[in-house]
Symmetry: C2
Subunit: 306 residues, 2 copies
Amino acid sequence: MSFSHVAVIGLGLIGGSVGLAIQRHLPDVLTSGYDGDPDVRRRAGELGLVQQMHDSAADAVAGADLVILCVPVGAMGAAARDMAPGLRADVVISDVGGSKVAVTQALQAALPGRCIIPAHPVAGTENSGPEAGFATLFRQRWCIITPPADAPADKVAAVVSLWEDLGAMVECMDAAHHDMVLAVTSHIPHLIAYTIVGTASDLEQVTRSEVIKFSAGGFRDFTRIAASDPTMWRDVFLNNRDAVLEMLDRFLTDLGMMREAIRAGDGPTMFDLFSRTRSIRRSIVAFGQDDARPDFGRGDHGTRKD
Amino acid sequence: MSFSHVAVIGLGLIGGSVGLAIQRHLPDVLTSGYDGDPDVRRRAGELGLVQQMHDSAADAVAGADLVILCVPVGAMGAAARDMAPGLRADVVISDVGGSKVAVTQALQAALPGRCIIPAHPVAGTENSGPEAGFATLFRQRWCIITPPADAPADKVAAVVSLWEDLGAMVECMDAAHHDMVLAVTSHIPHLIAYTIVGTASDLEQVTRSEVIKFSAGGFRDFTRIAASDPTMWRDVFLNNRDAVLEMLDRFLTDLGMMREAIRAGDGPTMFDLFSRTRSIRRSIVAFGQDDARPDFGRGDHGTRKD
């Protein structure tokens, strides 16, 4: 089976990119959409993020054989209840949320008896809103699908195919494992970045102007991540608490050891860590998950060879 | 006054870029160089990083009116002693080290009575070695100069001019303040990045392959910084201990507060931090210190509009 009508609920960076990517790669699939914010609906309509914009969630999902919820993970339950009256009996419900145990529970509670196949495309930028979406966002990125044990195989396969058609590589795993993996590859990095940017903003000894001027020493990299959508990230931490706390405590233990090494002037311990972290960068570049050029190929060095 | 012969000691990323930038922007200035590693000397010679390569530091600095030490900060004292026999009486000694109080003390101890004007170009990439250097590295980047109180004004002005000629913007401050500013804009970000990459590498629940695959959720950004030169960074932490520990403890306090907010499910505290960190990103982009394009304009989205 494959889907013929996909409804996208929530038209920010991810929802907008889903709509554009389906229109690009699957021109025979009908796309409809809705966003709870009237201003976002209007802008999304003008941008053509989906073919049919609706003024209610129930209207947007009417007739759809796949609905993809692209709202912050804390808003999934309410969005699901809102659209429920319009759902076809055989519809597949999916989402793009960054935590999967809590979202699966929220969707199952809001839509009892429905076929729910959660998904999480590991892709994004620091921008948000309907204008931030683009059709190639998922290209060469991984999408994790976390089908419940009782999900029909043909419907799981159809969700896998859809993401592959949008350019993604797909891996299936259970929701709890997803939450542990993403805690370390995404949630803790965001928490750390938000926190150090906050710390730097609050210093008395160093001015904000100095932080900005001299940010090329490393700090500026963290500010990109710390410019991500606040609502989305608040909801991730509220909905993946246990895995985040477990990974955070491991990080804090390791950072405490490095603090002690610095205090004690223990060069060998530092050198050991700083040496072995290089190889994972090489692997990430080798597996196509980052730009091989120095400094991410940043534009300010675009003329380096001239 | 201006310099007519600059000797570069240490020909990795920064030293090589200094040599190339002088040849590009100041073609009338003679460049000579030396590196303690014979293999680096040979490669630097083949790459033409300086006009004259020498097999001893004393030979490399003979006749130079400016010597720039581009070795890890822990190697500054030894490099200074090594070249001392070749120095002209009126030479200016400078460097590019990432910590300034300890380096200034080491240079003053190794070269008593000499004119020492330390500097730190806040620029770099994650690559190292002579092949990593390029002439435009300092363009639109800041260079901090930390002249001791008794440094002659004309010689300070000459060092300022040199960096401006290489494309940098220059700011003067005292060495202790430099060390505090860089602790927050550079040293703590590197320490955090090295540590989280180490933490992720050591997990049992999440495989290395999963960390690599799903790194686009944020983690990959940290791996770039954590691929920086281990010797250079060990030396920075050994030589800027007090400022690093002070900033690290502020960060740990703030991270502890965020940990408690997550544990308690305190959404408003998270939302408050995640909202106010956006503006500093906008300032960094507005002041030309980072790429305005989403995701640093990374190459994997180079075709986003196609």
